[in-house]
Symmetry: C2
Amino acid sequence: MANPKLFRVIDHAVTRFSLIEDGDRILVGASGGKDSTALIEYFALRMLRRSGPQFSVTAMHIASEMSSPLNDELLSRFEQWKVPLITKKVAVLGRIKAGQRMNCWWCSTQRRTEINSFAVREGYNKIALGHHLDDILETLLMNALVKGVLSTMPPSLAYEKYPVTLIRPLCLADIPMIVRHAEASGYINSTCTCAYQDNSGRKNARRKLEALTDGRYAEKRKLFDALSHVKLDYLPK
Amino acid sequence: MANPKLFRVIDHAVTRFSLIEDGDRILVGASGGKDSTALIEYFALRMLRRSGPQFSVTAMHIASEMSSPLNDELLSRFEQWKVPLITKKVAVLGRIKAGQRMNCWWCSTQRRTEINSFAVREGYNKIALGHHLDDILETLLMNALVKGVLSTMPPSLAYEKYPVTLIRPLCLADIPMIVRHAEASGYINSTCTCAYQDNSGRKNARRKLEALTDGRYAEKRKLFDALSHVKLDYLPK
């Protein structure tokens, strides 16, 4: 497990958590960053090259005042991968109420809401997001240390109110693994940055995750696996 | 919660986890160190000074080739607190099989077995141990990162095979809190050391816990509380 290949790890997650089923219509959030780009590439190559469940994939990019538009190189990759792209412009800054400060959580909630509405309206049954193992473990640490709750973003989550399931096929892939893949595929420079970033909570959690796991993939995976092996009798009631 | 008093925190744990009931016969493991000494002091003062559940407390010290005998100052404290002390000598080193190396886990298992047998034979219904919040969180991290299991030493654990329940009244107290108390009470120097210590796993976990919580009590308590608030729907299946 020293240097596992990204697609092999995504395959494992897809199987382990039954993320893709026959007939799925999947809408993928495409930020333009390395994570969602790698996810879309995986879907495209898997779709094109393998037998197995038949499903369709559409990418959706929510553009805002803060995001740079998807660059031409990325657009031509999507075309080459035969993944249709829908772009919607949302005035995230315009939605801020007086006294509210822009932050990553709020912006991502706005973008998520747009994707959810579109998926429900257009009959997509799954929304795939580019959250990876580090994101999931950082959220775990923030929820535990700030809220006192043991929870995170699960690999698969069925919405109660809508006929839509969120899936996170990168849940077993950590950042170094995705970076290696994106570098090899030549799209690492597409990663978008945002001038409004106010994300100290997550940066702090990233530092803590690094200390906890010594930055090692094997430790991250153990920690993730522990979340599937909860021994309630050996925890405080 | 900046500098909470030890006995107030133990009170809270005893109530929250219903650790002491009327008629309890409690056997306390007494290593001679600050943790179990503070626990015995708490029991003694609580027994002597308060109304509430009626219970009895006996201390038991397992002496081995590695442990220094309890010093006279500690013995006179126990006497002053009116806590009877039973000492049993066990040849921990003598029990090591060929090729086995002495380590903390094995030694503590040997000592625990002696206490368990004695408790069952003599009709104690509870065994109180001096494990504190840091011990519990370190075990949590070791179990998660090494075994991939989410579990730790719970505040209360009923043995399935014996009519005995383990309790850990220091579960909400961290090391700095116990050290401050022991210093104020004047028994910090009784802490025993062991020449055979081979405990790199726990030392590593202590370092990680420190990084995770920035050594702050509030963060440790949040992490502990998270273990009572497990949202299985928001964890990987």
